[in-house]
């Protein structure tokens, strides 16, 4: 049987709201005081797809990716990565995935090389091989070689982001989870990361889940794109399909940004004619 790269069925994640309201007792009593960060999400990603997720801040993108990464347990629903349940077979899943996040997650005083050596040990890549791959990836990302031995805290945010991308790519994950990998990169490096993503797909058949706040980027590299709002998918289609949906038959030329505003219902004064309302009701979600 051939498994789907990623399958989510009715996935829900709630967090207890640590608001101003009262002490522990009150909070425990008030079980309803839960916030749905991911709310009944279902979708399937085929092997080799580049699947985009876009949505406003706090809409649940990173939470969804953490659920897939086995870093959070869902309250409801089922997630599988190539047929492996992320809860029951979490170690098998962890073998198949790697993740890049917006926040740099490194030992700050260690150098890029030391951090990457640690990663190579955990992912069981021989050090020599790891080093060659890393130098190749970082070279293409215009990362100065002499900075490899400096403590990471001395590097700029964008440089740290490049190290994070190299750390995920050199392990050749089957499912690559990229949570805003290009945020904070200069235009050229951004292009280079996009090229790497396409190569990962074409050269070793990686499946990629990609979130970004750059609408053009989403359109140019993602096969299908889901739009998430308040923990729910409000639309899922190719960029073309989303444009048709948002245009609602008006035949108007829309940019991805227009689509984002229309489908998430976010107000933006600069835009006049929005077709909000009509297309909002979970349109296009499979």
């Amino acid at each position: 049987m051939i498994h789907k790269a990623l399958q989510c069925r009715g996935v829900t994640k709630t967090f207890i709201v640590d608001g101003e309201e009262g002490g522990i007792i009150k909070r425990i009593r008030n079980r309803k005081n839960r916030f749905r960060a991911v709310d009944d999400i279902s979708f399937t990603v085929e092997a080799g797809e580049i699947f985009g997720i876009i949505g406003p801040n706090g809409s649940g993108k990173s939470t969804l990716i953490r659920l897939i990464s086995t870093l959070l347990l869902p309250n409801e629903g089922y997630i599988s990565v190539f047929g492996n349940d992320v809860v029951k077979d979490s170690r098998k899943v962890r073998r198949l995935i790697n993740r890049v996040t917006v926040e740099a997650s490194f030992f700050k005083k260690l150098s890029a090389l030391e951090n990457l050596t640690y990663a190579a040990r955990l992912y069981d890549v021989p050090i020599k091989e790891a080093r060659e791959k890393i130098e190749y990836i970082l070279g293409r990302l215009q990362f100065p070689t002499k900075k490899l031995k400096e403590p990471l805290e001395n590097l700029s945010r964008g440089m740290q982001q490049k190290v994070a991308i190299a750390r995920a790519l050199f392990t050749r994950p089957t499912l690559l989870l990229l949570d805003e990998p290009t945020t904070g990169l200069d235009p050229r490096s951004k292009r280079e990361v996009q090229a790497f993503v396409r190569e990962a797909q074409s050269e070793f058949g990686a499946t990629i889940l990609f979130t970004t706040h750059d609408m053009e980027e989403a359109e140019s590299i993602c096969g299908r794109i889901a739009i998430i709002k308040d923990g729910r998918f409000v639309a899922l289609d190719t960029a073309e399909g989303l444009k048709r949906l948002a245009g609602n038959g008006s035949g108007k030329e829309l940019t991805m940004e227009d689509v984002f505003f229309i489908l998430t219902g976010e107000e933006w004064e600069g835009k006049e004619d929005k077709g909000e309302g009509e297309v909002m009701e979970n349109a296009g979600v499979n």
Binding site: K13, F15, I16, R66, S69, T70, L71, L72, L73, R91, R94, R95, I97, R99, T101, E103, A104, S105, F106, F107, K108, K109, L110, E114, T117, Y118, A119, A120, R121, L122, Y123, D124, P151
Partner: protein, 266 residues
């Protein structure tokens, strides 16, 4: 078999990483070591003032052993808090290794580091005091060191879970545990001087047995077969505490993943 080799290599990754961290935080290393040496010498001098060389030995062994066990406990129990502080906790937890590999790697580092540090402090002590260890049974001492490490690693694993489930309070709680063990285990005084209501606690602390045996080995040259029940008890305690510690750690991890406590912020 290849799977086992892979896990062993990964656990070496933790040792290597931590020694790299030691190198990068060398300034602090020197400070800790300096404090450790001075502290041990000061405690030895308390005995010296009484003119009783036996007491000096008693105190110095207490200080050395406490420093060693403290390093073990601290390195293991703080490993999670440290990774949370660095922001690497999610990276480490989603690596394709068994959790026990991560824990044992951390413990292995703690033992190596603890031994190295204790040796350095011991060298300073020997330079400073004219201590006669001519009675000492070093073979017994090494065995006791190994056996007691097991128990302290187990305790460390249990304590490591606290920062996992409570990012703020957890690290505070681990220090309280360490302080309590110091109080009840007879590190610098015989347990008999403790208030009667506190004494039962000393019986459940593995450090009590460790210190008692270490002193009889180093001061009286006691061999292992004279230590009987203490040694057996400590061995069983260590063999039991490690799996229990790992099991509790697993529960803590599940809880953290349920409520979203793994993340650094939030």
């Amino acid at each position: 078999m290849p799977a086992l080799i892979r896990e062993i290599r990964a656990s070496y990754g933790f040792v290597e990483r931590n020694f790299n961290l030691v190198k990068r935080y060398m300034g602090w290393e020197v400070v800790f070591l300096f404090y450790n040496v001075v502290n041990t010498l000061t405690i030895g001098l308390i005995g010296y003032a009484t003119g009783d060389m036996e007491l000096v030995l008693f105190l110095v062994i207490g200080a050395l052993m406490w420093a060693f066990l403290g390093v073990l406990f601290h390195e293991v129990s703080e490993s999670v808090a440290w990774e949370r502080w660095e922001g690497t906790i999610e990276f480490t937890f989603m690596a394709p290794i068994r959790r026990i590999t991560m824990l044992l790697g951390t413990c292995l580092y703690a033992v190596i580091y603890g031994v190295l540090r204790t040796i350095v402090v011991l060298l300073f002590v020997l330079l400073f005091f004219d201590l006669g260890f001519e009675n000492a049974n070093f073979l017994s001492a090494v065995v006791i060191l190994v056996v007691s490490s097991l128990s302290f690693i187990g305790l460390g694993l249990m304590a490591a879970v606290l920062p996992l489930i409570s990012p703020e309070r957890g690290p505070q709680a681990t220090h309280i545990i360490q302080a309590l063990i110091l109080l009840v285990s007879g590190v610098y005084y015989p347990i008999s001087v403790l208030p009667v209501w506190l004494q039962p606690l000393s019986y459940i602390s593995p450090a009590t047995y460790t210190l008692r045996m270490m002193r009889s080995a180093m001061l009286e040259g006691a061999s292992l077969n004279t230590m009987g029940w203490d040694l057996l008890g400590l061995t069983i305690c260590g063999i039991a505490l490690i799996p229990i510690g790992a099991w509790i750690f697993n529960l803590g991890e599940l809880y953290a993943k349920k409520v979203g406590k793994l993340k650094r912020s939030g």
